[in-house]
Amino acid sequence: MNTPPTYCYWSVATGPYAEFMARCVASARAAGVFKEFHILTDRSIEGAESYEAFEVEMTDQLYKLIYLKAAISKLNFDYYVWLDADTIFRRSPRNLLACLSRSPIHVPLEVNLTAAITAAKSPHGPVRVDQPQEILYGLSIRQYMELFTSAGVNNPVYWSRSAFWIVRRTAIERVCELALRFRATAKGRCITVDATAGLSYAMQMLCADPCIHEATANTDLWESVDARVGKPGGFHPCGMATGCSAIVHEGSGKQRGGNEKLNEENQHEPIFAN
């Protein structure tokens, strides 16, 4: 008989993020989540396995890939679930790994840029791209999409974050390779992209049907209510914030009242407006 695949949650949380992480783990335990949490941190976090975080390359969020490959992959699980520290559990997720479908990675795809651009062309379209210039990594949405298509994404191009993502152990090498290759491709065009864009690329290259990985296809699992995404009266990516997800990314900007240091991380989010 096949044993069900195993997984654990993991994160990197030092300084103010460690407090968020402690809150995240506590909410999980309160919701009846008994899976292991493995946190690279600078203090002990109750309810989690805490490991001393080393000094690694923090630029462009590369630490996520470095820790995944060098440390987390040594833990004996089939899948690893990354959580941003500013996440809480409303309830225990049901069949968490189902969102992967046949793919070895799941990153919630939040905005179908191809569809947004197409809709923007229509005077009756539900979404308009308000400021098409200088939005993502200094690129317009079109340029951002072109970067993905030139790197081999044949399907519609999506924008996603890396607040929550899952990777299969056997695919860690491949995912990191794809993410870093994408970064190198961008660099070749004098564009600096972070690990988030790399993970988004790896997701879109390692799935066949991106619709399966849309955030809206898995609203019972994860959602983001990060106030910094979508402008007042504006477009919320893929109809987020349903209020029924087990795992909720609250966004540290909301928690900390717009702490500038934390907000720096999200400077590459797209801006949409009606």
Partner: protein, 337 residues
């Protein structure tokens, strides 16, 4: 008296170039005094090569056995070291006219220098897309487009009657030919009761897709495990997504699949519009969703699948591969006034 034609390349049953040489030799061996020129003794001793050449009465010679002061034609086909080994230069020095067919979408080592030195008298392309890729390099060099030829009798039509619906693909075992998401791509097509057959598979392919768990639906076969025609006859659909860093210069295997009655479902951005008509003999797809629509439509409608397979085979047999016309094109391409 027949003209001398020295073909530099090895006939074989695997890969576009080798199978092309095989077909070409069968087509031209009565019209030329043909010699097969190979790089090493190993090829001369290869039982399959020997059997094939002996059957046509074509001598197999080493490259350095090229006669001097010859006034025939040398045809180089997809020989990786054709320029770096000095072969092209020796051909010119011997007085032969040199016709070169690269077959790939990239430049071989030493190819640019050979063009610059005037070693190539005529260059052959498989398609406009390939010609375009080499436009700058071969500016000013005489050039001819000759699409691939396949002997239809080698790929007989078979009415499908698989107990389990079967999709698959055939190519050389080159990881670059497979998309990054390959196994997920097949599995997410949404076919419930299905068999996936892939030839050829090797260690490199295993490594590339080591992250995937291949279940009992998959049959991953090593190169040449099953003769190409028999393998293609076993497929209901030839589903052929390609790696993003690879461009098919022509796509010979797609035409082979069609000859057997297999419906091709292939990616856009290659040369497949020159091989079949989209929607009539098969489908050319831009996104995964296009592939899925085509596969499910053909899976759910057996009569449509049969009709399309029959049309694909007829089109390939009667329109793509007109033996007499194709032979004349080759004779013209190998003639210098």
């Amino acid at each position: 008296m027949l003209n001398d034609l020295f073909i530099f390349g090895v006939p074989g049953k695997l890969g576009g170039a080798a199978t092309k040489i095989r077909d070409l030799m069968r087509m031209l061996f009565k019209d030329y005094d043909l010699s097969c020129m190979v790089a090493s003794v190993g090829f001369q001793k290869d039982a399959e090569v020997k059997r094939f050449l002996d059957g046509l009465g074509i001598p197999c010679r080493l490259r350095n056995e090229l006669p001097s002061a010859s006034d025939g034609i040398a045809l180089g086909i997809c020989e990786l070291d054709f320029f770096t080994s000095g072969t092209a230069r020796r051909i010119k020095e011997s007085g032969l006219k040199l016709v070169w067919s690269n077959e790939m979408m990239w430049e071989f080592k030493g190819e640019a220098e050979a063009v610059k030195d005037g070693l190539i008298d005529r260059v052959l392309f498989l398609s406009e897309i390939q010609q375009q890729a080499f436009a700058k390099l071969y500016e000013g060099v005489d050039q001819v487009i000759i699409r691939n030829h396949i002997t239809p009798e080698d790929f007989p039509f078979v009415e499908r009657s698989n107990p389990t619906f079967t999709i698959g693909r055939l190519s050389r075992p080159d990881p670059v030919k497979f998309p990054t998401n390959f196994p997920v791509f097949y599995e997410e097509l949404g076919l419930d009761d299905v068999k996936f057959r892939v030839q050829a598979w090797n260690k490199e392919m295993e490594k590339k897709f080591s992250w995937h768990r291949f279940d009992a639906r998959w049959e991953l076969l090593p190169p040449n495990k099953i003769p190409a025609a028999k393998f293609l006859q076993s497929l209901d659909l030839f589903v052929y997504p390609l790696g993003h860093e690879f461009v098919e210069s022509w796509g010979r295997v797609v035409a082979e699949a069609m000859l057997t009655g297999c419906v091709p479902i292939v990616p856009a951005g290659h040369q497949f519009h020159n091989v079949f008509r989209h929607g009539e003999h098969g489908f050319i797809c831009k996104t995964f969703s296009d592939y899925q629509d085509a596969v499910l439509e053909l899976h759910d409608h057996a009569s449509l699948r049969r009709e399309m397979g029959r049309k694909a085979a007829d089109y390939a047999r009667h329109d793509l591969f007109d033996h007499a016309k194709h032979k004349q094109m080759w004779i013209d391409a190998l003639t210098f006034n």
